[in-house]
Symmetry: C2
Subunit: 262 residues, 2 copies
DNA sequence: CGGCAGTTTGATCATGTTCAATCACAGTGG
DNA sequence: CCACTGTGATTGAACATGATCAAACTGCCG
């Protein structure tokens, strides 16, 4: 059973810990994206907006359904019919898949700008759970298809997003198939750093809103092994664990070496 | 070092073993696909053809460069600039990635109809090697982009291929992250069966043109572990190893159970 | 026949898992 | 205010799965 309260506490603390914490959703709802000054885009930019000309944005607006999901709650349940796609605008989401006996594989962590729905299946094969309070924009699949039919740029954008995800998935296959526990954890820390750089947080102090168990299920390890790897990196002065969910990357070049990516 | 001669021998034997062995490339070069009666499509159907109206096929024809690669030879070297995409029309190709110290992860095996080039990177991050003699159609990336720019159906087809690959990659992440050795091997056999069903070989006797080492590097195991898993499945009467590279699936339901997919 | 590449099988080893105890921290209630 | 509780993290010890090392086997080709 998840513990929404604790998750929310973690989220709040993590949020506080960020130097320039962005305005949360309720305030941002009426604000406009810098590129288009439009309603559909959020502060952090809704990735589909980039693909649309100003004149087409109102159509996107009309098919957009905003949702807020509290930390610990479920956005999508494994097996749900795939009737909509979803764009995260704030928060962190965990995508995971279960084997019949309860073994879990976390397929990925989603941050603002990330998209759910790049699949040809007619049901979701993973569940999506909010790790922190999460805002997203949902689009009925048929609406999105209608819109993309006469929007080559939107179609192109979807294609590019799928390709990017594929690149990331292949990177993860290499990690899961061939890397040692320490290499996996080092790679993970660098991946999170990379994501947070893209978000504009340009420090070497990274926020990990997910639990050690989540990280373990993402890396194909147990939470104990993840914890031991963190400890070892700390002992070797490569990282500093400021708080459980806040890690300072003291020596990124070293971390790069340890990640196995030459 | 690869052993081209042996690979070729394996391929020939495997080919002979198929009941309805299709005509190899040299003869098929002038033949036309059933759907369009066109030059670009091969007997086994070139996936891009499906997306094009008859009138547009000549444009595809003009940018198509056919290649034959002998077994054991390299189509793409890791690090090569991504200047072209590639559609396999016959044969089997291995996509693999190396870690600096030589550990190898096989990202996938490609069969007729499969496509290389669904990425946003400007260099190939994997190498592609022909396991058997292989025919493919190459397209300069800029030509393909020009063509897809005013062909929404082609753009859509590329998007769908990327999504399919993504679904497959996520399946593989679950396998690599959470399945036991035996479950991985069982899943692999069923995957190959599924692929060969799609190719029209509707028997429970599957052909494995790749070596045990290739399979191991695909499943994140060692070749010894793969071999032992095969032996165990044989002992338990779930499969019969007719020849090294030909396996009879005696009990598919059982294999399904053993694969971990409930 | 001998050599070679690939496979199979056995014995030993090591990495990461499992089981278990303790710690840390926040929230809660007497 | 402080003990009590619950969740998650850390650390230790024993264990197991799969890796590594090694030898024998198979089939093909020269």
């Amino acid at each position: 059973m998840p513990a929404p309260d604790l998750y929310r506490a973690r989220m709040k603390a993590a949020s506080r810990a960020r130097t320039n914490s962005p305005a949360p959703f309720p305030q941002a709802a009426g604000s406009n994206c810098s590129a288009h000054n439009c309603h559909s885009c959020d502060v952090r930019s809704l990735s589909l907006c980039d693909a649309l000309a100003d004149s087409e944005l109102s159509r996107l607006d009309r098919i957009t359904r905003r949702h807020r999901t509290p930390a610990g709650a479920t956005l999508i349940r494994e097996g749900d019919p795939m009737t909509f796609a979803c764009n995260i605008t704030s928060g962190t989401v965990r995508l995971s898949r279960l084997l019949h006996d309860g073994r879990r594989q976390v397929m990925g962590f989603l941050f603002p700008g990330d998209f759910i729905g790049l699949t040809r299946r007619n049901r979701f094969v993973f569940s999506a759970e909010a790790i922190t309070d999460t805002d997203c924009c949902n689009f009925a699949l048929e609406d999105l298809e209608t819109l993309s039919k006469d929007n080559p740029r939107l179609q192109r954008k979807l294609y590019e997003m799928a390709c990017s995800e594929l690149d990331a998935a292949q990177e993860q296959m290499l990690l899961l198939g061939r890397k040692s526990a320490l290499e996996r954890v080092a790679s993970f820390l660098l991946e999170v750093r990379q994501r947070q750089l893209q978000q504009g947080d340009d420090e070497d102090c990274i926020i990990l809103p997910m639990t050690r168990g989540d990280i373990a299920d993402y890396l194909g390890l147990t939470l104990e092994t993840v914890s031991r790897s963190f400890s070892r990196l700390r002992q070797e002065q490569v990282i500093e664990i400021c708080e459980t969910y806040r890690v300072d990357l003291l020596d990124c070049p070293r971390l790069q070496d340890l990640s196995g990516n030459s």
